[in-house]
Symmetry: D2
Subunit: 323 residues, 4 copies
């Protein structure tokens, strides 16, 4: 269950303080000359947290390409890549070895597997999202050739500087728009474009909500308000409004695909918190180390990456099935 | 893409006015004596729309069990079942054969496949959700033996009677709670319990939003407010609050799983609407026929059904992987 | 595990003496006008056993098409179909209810599931191969439009009439040839064209061996004998010989695909045999009922059907991945 | 299509002369202390070719473990590993850059992908089987705890020393036996234990035939000869003979699982051969470089590895489905 996608598939691996983080992309079309500069710039977007403290983890994020390429051109074989974990100060976490940080995955991982890598969140660390950005960048490159653009932005966020001062953190909402998607992508029953997006977005750590088009607001509307009237615009059938967010019956209708993703605040706060350890004893902890006040700025590129991967994947499925 | 689930799998088939609607459940444990009375009662919940007009479609919903059972006991082989479509008045839809109803899937299906069954929405009809209720009822029976209960309810809905008078429709929100789920279900990266639920819920027609725990509200909270403090309750580790909705790091933490699903209003409204036909000509339509004012009352059992299927599926995955 | 195929997928259901046998084909391209006459003729090939006794089961094999079609044209939605089991004389099997017939699946099914449908072999009956012929016929129709032909024949078989007299049965070998497959089908590592064929052929009851090209004979050859020399034939690169059976490195090379499938004799023999029952008591049985002397004549169309399904599936995968 | 397995899954990556060869094992149970010495000894079995010339490739085969482990114990997260390609003399292959070696995958890869890594066979190189040995070793360790043993051996092979002198190569047959498999593994219709084995074995380069139990010989037998009589042996039901090779109806019956795999001769021969290049021009080539006379000695451990992986995978599926 560390693989996502049907035809354009990404398998990721790695723990925060293990030897490396990486992924294997299977199903990428051959003869694509990778734009490494673009991939690096996407990784840079992920790394840059505008509300960072100086103590934040130094991640060089230098990708090593292990397979699938000949002179930078895809072979059609699996593209494996990794980034070594250089700056993992596991001693920061030693004190938390037996303690379950509130709203982190420490407790659930340990219960599920009977063991967990306690160093920096292990597999549950946000660092493990790096391979998604790489795969997303490649997917974007594929989409670019088809004039499909993806852009996400933070549309709502708590007061980060205020929160920092109080040793607190904030959440927020990211909105994403995919422009240029052809009509007809998405499988209508159990692989709806919206369902695939939902699944992908909920794979991002800290995501707790997802909505397409007007989303939850549609629940308060009347049909006469919510319906998107079909019109003939210069010979092309489209809709006057886009309450549906570009997806009807699970299938893209040619309009912009619009969705929003809700992130809870980062659970690692500097304020003292009460919790328990493995033995059930009550503890008071204050999480130090290198943590962001808000995941949103980093999350924007993740949202785009998954959106790109889903779009490529659904496009390949549609191509496969056409007569 | 008409199959959902990893180990407990449902494949559905059928169009609104085709010969039959049905499904095949693959991976259901053997030696389970099916509670047919319970399955029928669940189907009854789906059928009963409390705001129905008298002209609503008469669906006998008489299930024919085709395979997988011996004297009502599961064999471990695929359980196929169907309901014949008796009362399909396709003439009601003849006038809409070439017209794209606003916010329906007529246009997208036709663009995707180059053909569509125009009778009653075809494959996109809400009638095709019937097999989900059947599979969900069986999943609930499996969960019941493990003391896991699922209950959904409408927590927000527009004014239906008011809407009916105006030939309009309303949407709303369904909240669901799964009680008794053990700690450790859900795969942590791409098969998170929350992601699997999201995918399943977005497979229900008209769903436009999904949130877990406090969901979108978490985006406005601070970490100190959103975190769920771990406590030792009579020797069992649990959390004081449940903002996370029972899922942390994608894995169940033993608390109640709580989530909400937003439904847009039913797009079939009696009010006149403008739209276009296949040739792009503008039309004025008023959708008659047998339609609900609100899908919510029928949707409650669907939400529960998918929740049950996901829980069984994740439970089986967890069992498979344990040492 | 009752589904085969990646993009062109067949899910089958049904037991020998249950209510119905059938299947769901998911991923079939839309706008295909089904040739029902051809499908019936393929079913007829399966039914006709040239060495049959008069007491053989009367199977009307009247297909009911449940979904996925509009006026006989595929909609792109799942094509469900079934054949009702009319002539199931389960009393013939009453005596064998607690007995494990030698080299049948009675014992293994019962151990696996803790329950089995003892009537006519249940899910393990050869009757459950009927849906494969239907899906295979549709796959052949798709291939026909691309000028790909498939033909299998019995190339080796024991002396059936001799065996019948002695209450015995015989096995044999079916050879199949796929002509016109383009170069490049098959995934090179874990979805080799040969591996997909092998998996499919071993899904036919009684199959115990499979070889591609010169197969086992290649194990006795030298490299200089076994290699297929590339030549330029009228501007097209092909091979002088075809020891490889049209597949190199798991991928089709444009030559005929040739493979053979070995079938063990039907285990139901009239001769008295010793066996045990559920309690481990030794029994002497003589299997009466309606049984063939040899499965080969019926199996030819099954081999072709699976070959067609694999070819369509691999073709769709190749199409999906092309730039 | 570079992933094999349902629950115990291996994804492999790498080309012969790329940066690294490796794999990701997903679904391995947690809390398993890996026996690295055993893994190395298995890799050594793969490396040692008893008929090697001194010029054979020096492969240090030093595994780097990238993820999924904490102090050598499995975490339940993906286990990624790789071996860097140190000794890749790609200049050896420069002359073959545009030439299609007979019975190699050069031609088919290039036609499929429009590009190929010509250095040492690229992805089609036997070197890419290394990750299978690693995953197989871990699977064997899991099986060992359940007292399941796997042993393969060469049962037929051409005269290697004779072939070497003539610049030729030989093929052969490997037989494998799995002892201690419980009754009930294997899915009965499309995931038969035999079908899963067949698929896995055909994933080994150069494999052209596969048979279970008496295999092709069964095609010449009568039912009365081929049937395995059930007996009660000290209170346990088993079979007197094992013509079925331990699998009946696709499900293990508790007897030894026995199967044979036919390998064609290695196509790289020193003798001069005729072939064509990309432009269709006829060439005479003599393949130098470092090649084995026979793949069989190296293949034994591969056959065992896949057998182990299939057994673990089927065991996990069975566990998941049990009540």
């Amino acid at each position: 269950m560390n693989t996502i996608g049907h035809l354009f598939r990404l398998t990721t691996f790695g723990e925060s303080h293990g030897m490396a983080i990486g992924g294997v992309i299977d199903g990428c079309p051959s003869q694509l000359k990778l734009d490494f500069g673009f991939i690096d710039s996407e990784l840079h977007r992920r790394k840059t947290a505008q509300f960072s403290e100086s103590s934040q983890r130094k991640e060089s994020d230098q990708i090593e390409w292990l397979s699938g390429l000949l002179d930078g051109v895809t072979l059609g074989t699996p593209i494996a890549f990794m980034v070594c974990n250089e700056d993992g100060k596991s001693e920061d976490y030693e004190a938390l070895k037996d303690v379950y940080r509130p709203s982190h995955a420490d407790f659930t991982y340990e219960q599920k597997y009977g063991i967990r890598d306690w160093r920096g969140g292990g597999r549950a660390s946000a660092r493990t999202t790096l391979p998604i950005v790489v795969a997303g960048a490649i997917a974007k490159q594929i989409l670019k050739e088809k004039n499909i653009q993806i852009a996400a932005e933070v549309v709502s966020m708590g007061d980060a500087e205020q929160a920092r001062k109080k040793g607190d953190t904030v959440g927020g909402i990211v909105e994403c728009r995919i422009v240029g998607v052809p009509v007809g992508l998405g499988e209508p029953v159990f692989g709806k474009f919206s369902a695939e997006l939902a699944h992908a977005m909920f794979s991002i750590p800290a995501v707790k909500g997802f909505e397409v088009g007007d989303g939850f607001a549609l629940a308060q509307m009347k049909g006469s308000e919510a319906n998107d009237t079909f019109i003939n615009k210069d010979g092309r059938i489209t809709t006057l409004t886009n309450h549906s967010g570009g997806i009807q019956g699970g299938i893209t209708n040619g309009n912009d695909i619009v969705f929003r993703v809700a992130f809870k605040p980062i659970p690692s706060i500097a304020q003292p918190q009460q919790t328990v350890n493995r033995e059930g004893e009550t503890f008071q902890i204050a999480i130090g180390g290198r943590h962001d006040v808000c995941a949103l700025p980093r999350a924007v590129v993740l949202v785009e990456a998954f959106a790109a991967m889903v779009t490529v994947d659904m496009g390949m499925l549609q191509k496969a099935g056409s007569v």
